[in-house]
């Protein structure tokens, strides 16, 4: 039994809070001290392994400053020879298990990353912390208890979220269904069975991707309050719960929602779209989801607390560096440019930064560019008295489009999908839009106008994407999300755009809009509106645009 589980069983809530959640009480100075020390430890581990020597170009930094000056920024390409082959002997520490996320279509199917036992221990502690934050109303309160019913709707292992569930406190809570039993089940079957059990046994804690939370809520409301009594007669507990929900929904004169059936103690969500689904989740489940920011490489990097506002950085799992937005742009234009980075105590509020991490505890990533642009919302959480800077996810900064945390589509895969439809097209561009749900918006200019509708084009491209990218196909099968939307551009839209750009004296590189993540202005120009001309060096790209 883990120490955290022991503490729950023994009722030592004070010690449990300190152990798992105590990092929010650290001063910024303490945080930086932890960051520095653990980085120096990690450098020592890196010096002794092949991966470390290769990534650090054989330099041996002795201080944080030397590390930042001498070691170059990296991307997953730098790790491919070691991680895609799972070369354990080249790593700084022996992995406990491997996890992956979707890779780059056409290059490698998955991005693999090892998790060490020390990282695993910290993750376990942080999962307890996230659950505590999602349940509590004040500092120090541990509102969950032993035998609470815990439902999880996360991707199966070795996807990161699925792999991490092994760190969850399964000795303490009643998992729906039990982890062992769920190992061989498909995602859908597992969620289905989990909900059946939750209807029967009750539900206290729910951990899911935000898109899944909404999807499940919608399924409830779509039933429109119709409950077939007959099959439930043999299940009195389920029946009583459903009847209670039915009465509540009828009194409120609306369809039945999950909150009519269960009164959750805690709700934790992952995924970059958390802020989009936040209000809908509250409406459906009766409480805000606690947003956790993580990923395959950084695992858990920040978490919300019980005020459900900004996310607090977790200082003991990764070393954080921040590339200011302008510097990030420069490095995108010039791959050889090494942008300057800031540390956690140097960031400024209301500014965007590209996040760079270095794994602690023997993890493999060194000055790794996650490709995420985050926004520092404030330097401290005034309301809760947390002295660590607060953040929220802002956008992807690379040439990929993340949909609901399930898939990351590249230029190549979208292009291939369009090609496979056999349509005669002039040019295309695509971006992600966030409305009530994430949308992959494809803007396509056909060679011949008028003989095909956007819906027909959309259906063809969707079909091809489903074939080319398995995680994209999972979106529909797992959460019923069909994100593709197509706008057919007028004839000569791209040519007009180029002429405008030429007339404005734009740089050669900016004559055409990029295929992935064009700016709002570019799209307005393509669809026929006025547009400010983009000059070299100006940044007006927003990967995620709320409308």
């Amino acid at each position: 039994m883990s120490r955290e589980a022991e503490l729950i069983v023994q009722g030592k809530n004070e010690e449990l809070w300190q152990r798992c959640c105590g990092f929010i009480d650290l001063s910024l100075e303490d945080c930086m001290s932890i960051q520095e020390r653990l980085l120096l430890e990690q450098i020592e581990l890196l010096k002794k392994c092949k991966l470390g020597r290769s990534i650090m170009r054989r330099v041996e930094p002795r201080t944080v400053e030397e590390f930042r000056r001498q070691v170059p920024l990296t991307t997953y390409t730098d790790y491919e020879p070691f991680l895609l082959t799972k070369n354990v002997r080249a790593l700084p520490a022996k992995p406990l298990f491997w996890q992956h996320t979707s890779g780059r279509s056409g290059e490698y199917p998955f991005k693999w990353a090892p998790v060490t036992s020390r990282q695993f221990e910290e993750i376990r502690s942080l999962l307890f912390a996230c659950l505590a934050f999602s349940c509590c109303k004040r500092r120090g309160e541990i509102a969950y208890k032993r035998k609470d019913k815990f439902l999880y709707a996360l991707a199966p292992p070795p996807y990161t979220t699925g792999a991490l569930i092994h760190a969850a406190p399964y000795e303490v809570f009643d998992f729906l269904p039990p982890i062992k039993a769920a190992e061989d089940m498909s995602f859908e079957d597992r969620v289905q069975l989990g909900f059946e059990l939750a209807l029967s046994e009750g539900l206290d804690l729910f951990f899911a991707m935000s898109s899944v939370l909404v999807s499940i809520g919608e399924r409830f409301s779509q039933r429109n309050g119709s409950v077939s009594i007959k099959p439930l007669l043999g299940k009195p507990k389920t029946l009583s719960r459903l009847l209670k929900g039915l009465v509540k929904s009828r009194l409120a004169r609306r369809g039945m929602l999950p909150r009519d059936i269960w009164s959750l103690k805690g709700l934790v969500s992952t995924g970059s779209d958390g802020s989009v689904f936040r209000e809908r989740v509250k409406e459906m489940w009766g409480r805000y989801p606690l947003d956790v920011y993580g990923g395959t490489e950084g695992i858990i990097m920040a978490t919300q607390t019980w005020d459900y506002q900004g996310l607090t950085f977790i200082p003991h799992l990764n070393f954080f560096e921040f590339i200011p937005e302008e510097e990030s742009l420069k490095s995108r234009d010039d791959p050889f440019y090494q942008p300057e980075t800031l540390l956690l105590d140097e960031v400024r509020p209301e500014e965007n930064y590209e996040l760079v991490i270095t794994s602690f505890h023997g993890g493999p990533f060194v000055r790794y560019k996650l490709g995420d642009m985050i926004r520092i919302t404030s330097l401290r959480n005034e309301q809760l008295g947390i002295d660590i800077p607060q953040m929220r996810f802002h956008a992807r900064v690379d040439d990929m489009i993340d949909i609901a945390g399930f898939t990351r589509l590249t230029e190549q895969v979208i292009w291939q999908a369009i090609e496979n439809t056999g349509l005669a097209y002039e040019e295309w561009t695509a971006c992600k839009e966030l409305r009530e749900r994430p949308v992959l918006h494809l803007y396509l200019e056909l060679k011949e106008d008028g003989h095909i509708t956007p819906e027909e084009v959309g259906a063809s491209v969707h079909e091809q994407l489903t074939r080319l990218d398995a995680p994209y196909a999972d979106l529909e099968s797992f959460i019923g999300l069909r994100p593709l939307e197509v706008t057919l551009l007028p004839q000569n839209a791209f040519r007009s755009y180029m002429l405008r750009q030429q007339a404005a004296g734009a740089d050669l590189a900016h004559l055409k809009p990029p295929h992935i993540n064009p700016s709002d202005g570019m799209i307005e120009c393509l669809v026929g509106g006025k547009v400010p001309i983009t000059r070299e060096g100006e940044y007006e790209r927003e990967a995620v645009r709320s409308r």
Binding site: G11, E15, Q18, R19, L26, S33, I34, L38, R118, H316
Partner: protein
């Protein structure tokens, strides 16, 4: 009124006051539930009082009926309190318990439990029937559950304060259980209010735990109130007891007389309470807290002894012995900061474990534990260190080190707010956790020791400084003599032997003159390091003086010492010497008692051996006692090769002279003038020989200067001057590889320095210019003036001397000029003939 009624009355009053105090505090749940327990206990005591008071005999049945339910209520509310104290939610047991209380109350009031009840002569007569076992059984379930919960908490807790609080609750529960059941199940004492005594004792114990261990969040003023309640209850108890005894022992006495006398007695007791309290406290301490009493005594003894100790070793020994014995520890250690690294390392341990390296645990200066100890004034438990966020920065190896060290507690030792040491306590012999008193004692000791340790450290550091050479950090000359005497004494006593090596850096003066004193210091530092790394752990190295070092090698025979000496010589050659700057050392060895038994004799023998090493070519090791010992050859330079090199050099010097027929023979003449001046100054033959060679070679650097510049008739341009000025350095570059000529190098390098600092190449001034170079400068100038040059006519000897005098103090050393003039001027027969 029965005397037994007094006990429940007192009990009721105590509970009532306690309940008011507790419920007036903040709204913490645990306080509220404890208040509820106090109310239940108060109701139980009140009903019992009313029953025994028997004011209205017809109401005896009613009070007895309520009493039954109140008894159960007390048990259930105590169970409730302990659950909340354990951070456990209410649970179904609470609901069942309170439901039972209400049910029993209803049944009791309906006459199903108590059949009849009346008081006769202060004794209760009642019939409870079988239902009493039901009430007793339910109460037992709750009381035993309560006790089990407390025992579990005690066993799972690692926090000594928490364990102390819990132990009081356990004792209190035990008393309640025992008193309740003994009283009600033993017919002979049934009705004697023993259960109330048990319950009030429990309340008093809880009150004590509140006051001492902050069992509940009760403010200071409230604690005082509780203290007085405690005192009043004790006095009340005594009062009631005395009255009762009086009634029994003196049945003939009227009750009012007994009450009157008892009141006077208790009043006197109350007046004496304060002075007696200290004595009572001591008895209680000795009886109930034997360990605490022992701690205090140990601490007092430690304090008394500390005032007389200044030596760090003695202090550490005293402190570790005291704390280890008093706390029954397996081991205790003292960590101090290393001056060089800043790390806290183990300096003292008690008891020393054989085979255990004393430095197995260390805390680097930036270790979060050190930071924490520096900021906080309380001991740090190493057990739950994983749970403290501030220690998230600990390295894995540091955590493993802590785990392996078997240490449990670190107490900061501070002086004026600065962390100067760490008292590290190992596990207890009984493998139990530290008690609150353990922590108090360890911290008291650490805080007392702070100033004394710092003084002892300063004293110790001063001692080290007094015996250490500041430059090389080896022991100094003074300490060398002390240690040598100690070694001779040891040898005389135990019949052991030792060797002495004296080491001298070859041609160090020349090195200093060429490269400057800072570079010379660096060489000495590096040689000291080479010596440190080449000798054994029990050998001691000293800076004997200047560029001389000494090494005492206990229990080393001559051949052992020879091996060490050779190792040093080779290490210096490998690590310090380079092609550009050859550094070598010569070593002489003597052995005690083979070469002599007196200190002076042994030094003299080693010196003689060193001298022989110098005389026979340097860079070698010689023994004083064995003249036939083969000498080590000069590394890298064979004698024949050296001779050939010298011949080539002198040929080169002749070539320089030959380059310019105006300067033909210049080097020879300069050499002669310089030697004449050196002899007039009374310099040693060695130095005169060096000056002679330097005179011959002083312009050798001119081989690198184009003839067009050397022989130019017109004024030299700046560039050409620059070229000319490089010739001293060029000369040194040419000659530096010939070890035998190394002593000439500073003379050649600086022979164009001016006395006022305006010369080249280094711009040295006054006496900073080597004496030999000043001599050569005069000789060089004199010959130049008196020789023909392409750019001016030859001057006479007198004109040249006048010119020298004119430039004395600016270009030349005025004192040397005067001597030189005397050498040249007096009579042509005695002086040198100017050709």
């Amino acid at each position: 009124m029965s005397i037994w009624a007094v006990i429940p009355l007192l009990s009721f009053l105590a509970f009532a006051i306690l309940a008011v105090v507790v419920l007036r505090q903040d709204g913490r749940r645990v306080n509220r539930v404890f208040g509820l327990f106090l109310i239940a206990s108060g109701v139980w005591s009140f009903t019992s009082f009313m029953l025994h008071f028997n004011a209205y005999p017809q109401q005896a049945l009613l009070w007895n009926e309520i009493l039954v339910a109140a008894l159960l209520w007390t048990a259930v509310s105590y169970y409730h309190f302990v659950r909340v104290y354990n951070d456990k939610p209410g649970g179904i047991g609470i609901y069942i318990g309170y439901s039972c209380v209400l049910t029993i109350l209803a049944l009791s009031l309906s006459g199903y439990i108590v059949k009849y009840a009346y008081i006769v002569n202060g004794t209760l007569y009642h019939s409870l029937g079988f239902s009493v076992y039901i009430v007793g059984g339910i109460s037992a379930v709750f009381l035993i559950s309560t006790a089990l919960m407390l025992i579990n908490r005690y066993r799972s807790s690692f926090d000594p304060t928490d364990r102390n609080r819990t132990i009081y609750l356990i004792i209190g529960s035990g008393i309640v259980i025992v008193s309740s059941y003994i009283c009600n199940l033993t017919p002979s004492i049934a009705g004697l209010s023993i259960d109330h005594i048990g319950n009030i004792t429990n309340a008093l114990i809880i009150t004590y735990a509140i006051m001492r261990y902050q069992l509940l969040n009760v403010r200071f003023v409230a604690q005082k109130v509780l203290a007085y309640v405690w005192l009043i209850s004790c006095l009340g108890g005594i009062y009631a007891g005395v009255v009762f005894l009086g009634q029994r022992l003196l049945p003939s006495q009227p009750t009012y007389i007994i009450v009157l006398r008892t009141t006077v007695l208790v009043l006197i007791l109350a007046l004496l309470a304060r002075p007696l309290s200290h004595k009572i406290e001591e008895w209680i301490d000795r009886f109930f807290h034997r360990e605490t009493y022992e701690y205090r005594r140990a601490l007092l003894g430690f304090s008394n002894r500390m005032s007389n100790i200044i030596n760090l070793d003695e202090l550490a020994n005293e402190m570790l012995t005291t704390v280890t014995k008093a706390l029954h520890l397996k081991q205790a250690k003292l960590l101090f900061q290393d001056l060089s690294s800043g790390d806290f390392t183990v300096h003292f341990a008690y008891p020393e474990v054989e085979g255990e390296p004393s430095g197995e645990i260390k805390f680097s200066a930036d270790n979060p534990i050190v930071t924490w100890l520096h900021k906080e004034n309380e001991p740090l438990h190493l057990g739950p260190i994983d749970s403290i966020p501030k220690f998230k920065g600990l390295w894995e190896v540091e955590k493993e080190q802590i785990m392996a060290s078997n240490l449990g507690l670190l107490c900061p030792i501070k002086n004026r707010g600065r962390l100067i040491g760490i008292l590290a306590l190992g596990e207890k012999e009984s493998d139990t956790l530290y008690s609150h008193d353990d922590l108090e004692m360890a911290m008291s000791m650490a805080s007392q020791a702070g100033t004394i340790i710092e003084n002892a450290q300063l004293y110790s550091q001063a001692l080290v400084r007094a015996n250490t050479d500041g430059l090389t950090e080896l022991y100094n000359h003074r300490h060398f003599h002390e240690r040598l005497e100690q070694e001779i004494a040891r040898g005389s006593r135990f019949g052991t032997t030792f060797s002495l090596i004296i080491l001298d850096v070859d041609l160090f003066k020349a090195y200093n003159d060429i490269h400057g004193h800072l570079a010379g210091d660096e060489v000495l530092r590096r040689i000291a390091l080479c010596i440190k790394t080449s000798i054994r752990g029990l050998d001691t190295a000293f800076r004997y003086g200047g560029e001389e070092f000494a090494i005492i090698l206990p229990e080393a025979r001559l051949d052992d010492a020879y091996k060490v000496a050779e190792r040093i010589r080779k290490t210096v050659g490998l690590k310090i010497s380079s092609r550009a700057t050859p550094i070598t050392v010569s070593l002489g060895i003597a052995n005690w008692p083979i070469d002599g038994v007196m200190k002076e004799k042994i030094i003299s023998c080693a010196d003689t051996a060193l001298y022989r090493a110098k005389q026979t070519g340097r860079n070698r090791t010689c023994l004083s006692s064995d003249e036939t010992k083969p000498e080590t050859p000069v590394v890298g330079v064979e004698p024949e090769a050296r001779s050939r090199a010298l011949n080539i050099i002198y040929a080169l010097a002749a070539t320089v002279d030959a380059k310019d027929h105006y300067t033909y023979g210049h080097s020879k003449k300069v050499s002669d003038y310089a030697v004449a001046l050196a002899e007039a100054l009374g310099l040693s033959q060695d130095r005169i020989d060096t000056i002679r060679a330097a005179g011959l070679l002083h312009d050798i650097g001119k081989v690198g200067i184009p003839d067009s510049t050397l022989n130019k008739k017109g004024t030299l341009s700046d560039g050409e001057w620059g070229l000319i000025k490089t010739h001293p350095k060029l000369g040194v570059e040419i000659l530096r590889h010939v070890i035998d000529l190394v002593s000439c190098l500073p003379i050649i390098l600086h022979h164009h320095e001016h006395y006022d600092g305006s010369g080249y190449p280094s711009g040295l001034k006054g006496d900073n210019i080597p004496l030999e170079a000043r001599i050569l400068a005069i000789a060089d100038a004199f010959d130049a003036i008196t020789s023909p040059r392409p750019y001016r006519a030859q001057l006479s000897s007198q004109q040249a001397l006048q010119e020298l005098r004119r430039c004395a103090g600016t270009q030349f050393d005025p004192e040397l000029v005067e001597v030189f003039c005397k050498v040249i001027e007096p009579t042509p027969s005695k002086g040198l003939e100017v050709k």
